[in-house]
C-alpha cells in the first residue's frame, strides 16, 4: 500500500507500473470493500481494508498481501469485475491501495463508471489474453507501460492492444473524466431542460 496518497488529476495519457493479478469472475464490490467499512464520511482510510475478508481468509496468501505484488499499480482481473453494490468505496479503496489502472475481461457498469469518475482507466481484453497475462504474471513480475492514446500496452517481452470505450478514452486524454466542470459548462442548456420537462410543471 502506498503510504502517501496522491489522487489522479487532469489528463491521463500514460501509465506505467507493476501488474497484480486477481483470478476469478464476478468479484463483487462487497468483497472489494465489505459494508462495515462504509461507515465513514470520507474515503481516506479505505486503502488498507481493500479485500479485507478475502485477505483474512487466505492468511497472507491473497495477491494484495504477497510481497512480490508490493507497489503494484495495474490490476488484472477476469469478467464482471465490480458487480453488485454501487459503492464508490470499492474503486476508492483500490485507488488508495495503489491501483491506477485495471485490465479485465469485463466490468460491471456502475463500477466502471465509478472508476472513470475517479480517474482509473479500465481496459478490456479477450478472455484468452487475460488468461495468458495471468499465467505469465504467476511466475514473474510483469511491468507494463500503457499508452492510452494508442490503447497499447507493452513490457519487455509482451505487447498488446487494449480496448477502452472511446468516450472514456477521450475523457482521460482531455482530463474531463472529472466531469463536474464539463457538465456545468452547459448550465444554460440544463436550465432550459428543467423548464421543458413536462413533469416538472405538473409536479410544481
Amino acid at each position: 500500500m502506498n503510504s502517501e496518497f496522491n489522487p489522479p488529476i487532469g489528463e491521463i495519457s500514460y501509465l506505467k507500473g507493476k501488474c497484480i493479478s486477481l483470478i476469478g469472475d464476478d468479484i463483487d464490490t462487497d468483497r472489494i470493500i465489505p459494508a462495515r467499512f462504509l461507515k465513514c464520511v470520507n474515503f481516506d482510510s479505505l486503502g488498507k481494508s481493500v479485500f479485507e475478508d478475502d485477505r483474512k481468509t487466505l492468511r497472507g496468501k491473497h495477491p494484495f498481501d504477497l510481497e512480490e505484488n508490493k507497489g503494484a499499480s495495474i490490476l488484472i482481473v477476469n469478467s464482471n469485475f465490480g458487480c453488485g453494490s454501487s459503492r464508490e468505496h470499492a474503486p476508492q479503496a483500490l485507488l488508495r491501495w495503489g491501483i491506477k489502472a485495471i485490465i479485465g475481461e469485463s466490468f460491471a457498469d456502475i463500477f466502471y463508471s465509478n472508476c472513470i469518475a475517479i480517474g482509473i482507466p479500465c481496459f478490456t481484453l479477450p478472455q484468452n489474453s487475460i488468461k495468458s497475462i495471468q499465467k505469465y504474471s504467476a511466475t514473474k513480475n510483469l511491468f507494463l507501460e500503457i499508452d492510452l492514446r494508442k490503447s497499447f500496452a507493452k513490457s519487455k517481452e509482451l505487447s498488446f492492444n487494449l480496448h477502452i470505450k472511446e468516450s472514456s478514452k477521450n475523457m482521460f486524454l482531455s482530463g474531463e473524466w472529472d466531469a463536474t466542470s464539463t457538465l456545468l459548462a452547459n448550465e444554460s442548456l440544463i436550465e432550459k431542460k428543467f423548464k421543458d420537462l413536462p413533469y416538472i410543471k405538473f409536479n410544481a
Binding site: 464520511v41 464482471n80 456502475i110 465509478n114 477521450n170 457538465l183 452547459n186 413533469y199
Partner: protein, 468 residues
C-alpha cells in the same frame, strides 16, 4: 441500436447535450440520497465551492445504517450516529427534503420514493445505490450511481453517461400458485447469467409481467442489477397510475389529469426495435432458491445443486468456489437444508404485500426452535399499515421478532448480522460472500413466503405445501 422503446424516449427527453468525449449529458429528474453514499459528495461540493443546482429535485431518507431495535438518539454505534447527523446537517444546510426517522415516511429509499409518489413514469431517477433500478417498475429510467456522480447530480442535476442497449425480456403465461415475482426474477438471472445485463437496460414485458402488482414489479426491476443490468423497467399502465393516485407527492386535481395523459403516451411502440429479445415461460417457474455466492446460482426447490460437469466452462470456477464456501456437495438437494436465521425485509421484498404473504404462511404456526427469525418492514408506512392489519401480531405470535424499518441484514451495516457460518434464508437480493455481516456467513435467497416456510420447518421448504 434500439429505437422507440420507452428507454429511448425517456433518454432522448432528458438528454441535455452530447459531451465532447462522446457520452451524453443526461438530466436527472429525481435524485434520491441516503446517509452512506452522500457525505463525500457534499464534502466534494464544499471543496470545489459549488452550490446545489436544484435542491428540490433531491430527496433524502436514512436507511442503511439505522438500528432496527433501539432507534433512540444518539445511536449506540458512534459511526452510525455520525453518518445520520452528517446527513441531517447537509439536508438542513442545503434545504433538501429529508424523511427522517419518526417522520412517518422514513424507510428504505427504494420503498419510500414509490410510496410517496415521488417515483413517476417518464422520469430519470438516480441514487447512490445499485438497487435504484427498482423505480423502473413505474416506467421511469432509474439507475444506481457512485458518489462522484452524486456530487455531479447535486452540482448540475445531470450526469455523463453512455446510452445503454435495450433487451426485452418477454415473460409468457402466468406464474403458478405459490410462485412469486422473486422466483421469476431469480429464474431470469439464472437463465441469462449475472453478467448478461452489462451494457443493457432490461425491459420486462409480457402477460406474466402485466399481471404483477406494482410491488411485485418493483421486486423484478429491483434485481435487474443482479443480472448485470444497471437499469430495468416496465411500461406504465393503469395499474401504475392507480398506485400513484393520491400519494403525498403525486400531482393533484388538474395536474393529475395532465400527468396521466402524458404518462399514457409513454411506452415502447409496438414496432420498436430492441438490441436483443429473450422469451421465457413464466408458468414453468417454480419456487427458486440460490445455493451459491452469486444471485445467478439458483435452482428450483425440487432440483439438486448442479454437478460441476453440467456447468459451462465459464461457470465452473465460481461454482467450485461456491460449493466450498456454502459447504454444499454437488448433487445434494437444496430442500431440507437447515437454516439458522430467517430474514424478511429489504428493498426487494420489504413491502406490505411481502409481509402479507409471509404472515399468511405464518398464521397459527410457530417458528422452529433452532431459528432466529426477524422481519424488518421496508418503511415506517409499511410498518404502520402492517400494524393496522394486525400482521405484526401474527409475526410476533409465530416467533418472529418485529423490528423498525431499515436495510438491516440485507447488507448488515447495522448490528443485524449473521454470526460465523450461519445459514440464512433471506428475502434480500445478494448472496455474496460475507454480504450479511459475517465473513463466512451463508445466504440462501428466496421469496418472503419461502422464508416464512423455512422459518416454520427450520429448513428449506416448499411453501406450496403450506398454502395449497
Amino acid at each position: 441500436m434500439s429505437q422507440d422503446t420507452l428507454f429511448d424516449k425517456v433518454w432522448d427527453l432528458h438528454k441535455v447535450a452530447s459531451l465532447p468525449g462522446g457520452s451524453d449529458q443526461i438530466f436527472v429528474g429525481l435524485h434520491l440520497i441516503h446517509e452512506v453514499t452522500s457525505p463525500q459528495a457534499f464534502g466534494a461540493l464544499k471543496d470545489k465551492n459549488l452550490k446545489i443546482k436544484f435542491p428540490n429535485r433531491t430527496v433524502a431518507t436514512v436507511d442503511h445504517i439505522v438500528p432496527t431495535d433501539n432507534q433512540s438518539r444518539p445511536f449506540k454505534d458512534n459511526l452510525a450516529e455520525q453518518m445520520i447527523s452528517t446527513l441531517e446537517e447537509n439536508c438542513l444546510k442545503h434545504k433538501i427534503r429529508f424523511f427522517n426517522i419518526g417522520s412517518g415516511n422514513q424507510g428504505i429509499v427504494h420503498v419510500v420514493a414509490p410510496e410517496l409518489g415521488l417515483t413517476q413514469p417518464g422520469m430519470t431517477i438516480a441514487c447512490g445505490d445499485s438497487h435504484t433500478s427498482t423505480h423502473g417498475a413505474f416506467g421511469s429510467i432509474a439507475f444506481g450511481i457512485g458518489t462522484s456522480q452524486v456530487r455531479d447530480v447535486l452540482a448540475t442535476q445531470t450526469i455523463a453517461m453512455n446510452k445503454l442497449k435495450v433487451r426485452q425480456i418477454w415473460c409468457e403465461n402466468q406464474l403458478s400458485n405459490g410462485v412469486y415475482a422473486k422466483d421469476l426474477v431469480l429464474h431470469i438471472i439464472n437463465k441469462l447469467g449475472v453478467k448478461a445485463g452489462v451494457g443493457f437496460a432490461y425491459e420486462f414485458a409480457g402477460p406474466a409481467i402485466n399481471s404483477l402488482s406494482m410491488e411485485e414489479r418493483m421486486t423484478i426491476c429491483n434485481m435487474s442489477i443482479e443480472g448485470g443490468a444497471r437499469c430495468g423497467y416496465i411500461n406504465p399502465d393503469e395499474k401504475t397510475f392507480n398506485y400513484l393516485k393520491n400519494r403525498l407527492c403525486t400531482p393533484k386535481d388538474k395536474n393529475w389529469d395532465q400527468a396521466v395523459k402524458w404518462w399514457q403516451s409513454l411506452k415502447s411502440d409496438e414496432n420498436s426495435i430492441y438490441d436483443d429479445l429473450i422469451k421465457l415461460d413464466a408458468s414453468k417457474v417454480e419456487p427458486t432458491i440460490t445455493w451459491g455466492i452469486t444471485p445467478g446460482q439458483s435452482i428450483s426447490i425440487n432440483q439438486k445443486i448442479p454437478l460441476l460437469e453440467s456447468l459451462s466452462t465459464n461457470d465452473k470456477l465460481i461454482a467450485e468456489e461456491a460449493y466450498e464456501y456454502m459447504c454444499f456437495k454437488p448433487g445434494q438437494s437444496i430442500k431440507d437444508t437447515p437454516v439458522e436465521v430467517c430474514f424478511i425485509g429489504s428493498c426487494t421484498n420489504g413491502r406490505i404485500s411481502d409481509l402479507r404473504v409471509a404472515a399468511k404462511v405464518l398464521k397459527d404456526k410457530k417458528v422452529s426452535n433452532n431459528v432466529k427469525a426477524f422481519v424488518v418492514p421496508g418503511s415506517e408506512k409499511v410498518a404502520n399499515e402492517a400494524k393496522k392489519e394486525g400482521l405484526d401480531k401474527i409475526f410476533k405470535d409465530s416467533g418472529f421478532e418485529w423490528r423498525e424499518p431499515g436495510c438491516s441484514m440485507c447488507l448488515a451495516m447495522n448490528s443485524d448480522k449473521l454470526i460465523g457460518n450461519q445459514v440464512s434464508a433471506s428475502s434480500s437480493n445478494r448472496n455474496f460472500k460475507g454480504r450479511q455481516g459475517s465473513p463466512n456467513g451463508r445466504t440462501l435467497l428466496m421469496s418472503p413466503a419461502m422464508v416464512a416456510a423455512a422459518a416454520i420447518n427450520g429448513k428449506v421448504s416448499d411453501v406450496r405445501e403450506f398454502i395449497n
